[in-house]
Point group: C2
Chain length 246, copies 2
């Protein structure tokens, strides 16, 4: 994860009403490594104790939010700004998904993501200042997402766009994945014991059964330790059988 | 957006403590079209008035959450379950990013996303019941995300995995994008008026300037209406000049 990219977007909250949402936005920003928070005419002024409570410490470790009178001033040093809107606006500007917006942000060195006030959203005069819009795809029958959640989703998409975590990993701790030979030795032993136990009643089906047994365990990519455990299971089951016969 | 997919994951909250988080989870689920909420041993029982307050109506329109004593019972009908964990666990199971997990969910017809209690997260006995883990990539210096936010991010990823919204659209309302000919006519007129205004002082630079003027407007993919507006701008500016001269 790269933490020092120059083009991290500013998060601009325009006329936010509830301190709780400012705090939730700050927390979400820190979760995903953004720190340039700008507030345009916050209803209850700044600082706001409810914001600090809701930020879970984020406002203590990030730079002090900048306060502006107008969106115009908040955007002064930005080259490219995208506004979040819940609904289609009658304005000819590109509309991005959150994912689709990220490559656009990476094209510029100073960018901003602009969020409107709770309930009403951004006014047309605010939208006119932005280069395009972002609409989060939601259930049309229950579309309303909260301001803090919108910031969270966009901040998450930002981190996703720079994060190098592989989509899937298999951490095996201290035990390496078993080698082909270790698995082969295990299956050879298992089949020998199954033979002794008359497991293969139909010689015609035997190749299929052997393949299926192998398949079910190999698919799990077992570790060396797990193969040792399965050896122990065979020993234990043989022992039970021997004891029962005795 | 497809809303009736059979394999929508169940959201299972294990021993959730705060009703607010259950409500936020329900709201996030409805935002992204999930509705199978299961609660394992919620601390304050069920129903929970704080959950209902925080759900912004989601709990009124989704099916009643199912309540279970154990995760084992909550998972009974599921074929594949992924547990969210904030940190590496000492267990050999695949670890997915939220995005990476979605293709796995689509392979099965009944799946579950399992979330642990606030602060402590899932216990090892819970994790042992799940097929793999999901870890949201976060800022390692400020990694803690809230239970409701975790559900929001996973529900969002689920919708993203089935949503067909193009990454970028340019809605042009009632006005179609201008045709090549309309733009050509506009630029021809503009260049003629610029010629009359002695704009092109250096004939050697003229081809470059013409190209740059065209480039800056064509890059915006203007609509027919916008080209008409630009024609009006030329007329107006010529008029000003004529008036000034008069």
């Amino acid at each position: 994860m790269t933490s020092a990219l120059k083009n991290k977007p500013a998060i601009i909250l325009v006329r936010p009403q509830m301190g709780e949402n400012i705090g939730a936005a700050a927390r979400a920003m820190m979760n995903f490594n953004l720190s340039d928070l700008r507030l345009v005419a916050p209803r209850d002024g700044w600082p706001n104790p409810r914001a600090i409570d809701m930020a879970s410490g984020a406002l203590d470790i990030m730079p002090e939010p900048q306060i502006f009178e107008t969106l115009h001033e908040a955007l002064a040093d930005c080259q490219y700004a995208l506004a979040t809107t819940a609904r289609r606006r009658d304005m000819v500007k590109p509309v991005f998904t959150p994912q689709g917006a990220m490559p656009e942000l990476h094209k510029h060195s100073k960018t901003a993501l602009v969020f409107g006030p709770e309930r009403t959203g951004l006014e047309n005069d605010d939208l006119a200042l932005c280069n395009g819009f972002i609409t989060v795809p939601t259930n049309p029958d229950f579309a309303s997402i909260n301001l803090g959640q919108s910031v969270l989703l966009l901040a998450y998409e930002w981190m996703r766009s720079i994060d190098g975590t592989p989509d899937q990993e298999l951490p095996t701790g201290n035990s390496a994945p078993a080698s082909h030979q270790e698995l082969e030795d295990f299956f050879t032993r298992l089949e020998k014991e199954l033979e002794a136990g008359h497991f293969f009643r139909d010689e015609g089906l035997r190749p299929t059964m052997v393949r299926n047994i192998r398949s079910s365990l190999i698919r799990a990519t077992p570790t060396e330790q797990e193969v040792r455990t399965w050896h122990g299971i065979i020993s234990s089951l043989i022992g039970n059988k021997t004891q029962k016969k005795a």
